[in-house]
Symmetry: C2
Subunit: 131 residues, 2 copies
Amino acid sequence: MKRLRYHRVRSTSPDYIACLNQQDWPKLEQFVHDEVSHNGERIGISGYRKMLEKDFHEIPDLHFNIRLLISDPPRIASRLQFDCTPKGKFLGLDVEGKRVSFAENVFYEFRSEKIWQVWSVVDKVAIEAQL
Amino acid sequence: MKRLRYHRVRSTSPDYIACLNQQDWPKLEQFVHDEVSHNGERIGISGYRKMLEKDFHEIPDLHFNIRLLISDPPRIASRLQFDCTPKGKFLGLDVEGKRVSFAENVFYEFRSEKIWQVWSVVDKVAIEAQL
């Protein structure tokens, strides 16, 4: 059972990341729980979608790359890598069209086979070092 | 075999964190590989120890709390929580004795049952929001 869940959770993650990269928002509900929380705040799937849409608006060439993926159901952790060009401010920094490279270390907890809790930290220090 | 490694890696982590909290530096070599890398830079165990000693110097009440621990040998991911009082600047911010609360999302990769690669991101954005 544990083994089955391991493979199911692990195989879901690349599909979820592909959904983000395709900005296929109607598909988001296949992966994300209605009552999803982000860093302890329950924002729901509509808030989650808005957050992602805002990210793609601010960073038109945003692309999620999975560097590390570790699975321990009902949780997953991933180190995501970004090489992108935020067009204005990003995390309060004047990036203004400069190409930057940074990571996000993120944990997902699943409930009913969907992402229910997200704890994310973006490496702002790495971005500052490139400006 | 996988199951055995899972339990070994998982049970090591609280002992490693206890070693940090006790600042028991001679014991560090039980947990950390001689050629450890931190965020892609090979700093070795002596550089790793110096980094930790600097952290405790800058934050005298530093204490590592494990919030999440997920195991997928040879890797582990942990969300660490800190409630502490950096005495001066911290991550370039003028914290200057203010109590702050923040997380670190960190991945460890083991080799020969010791920490060999560390990918860490500290939530600087959360600290800024408290200043």
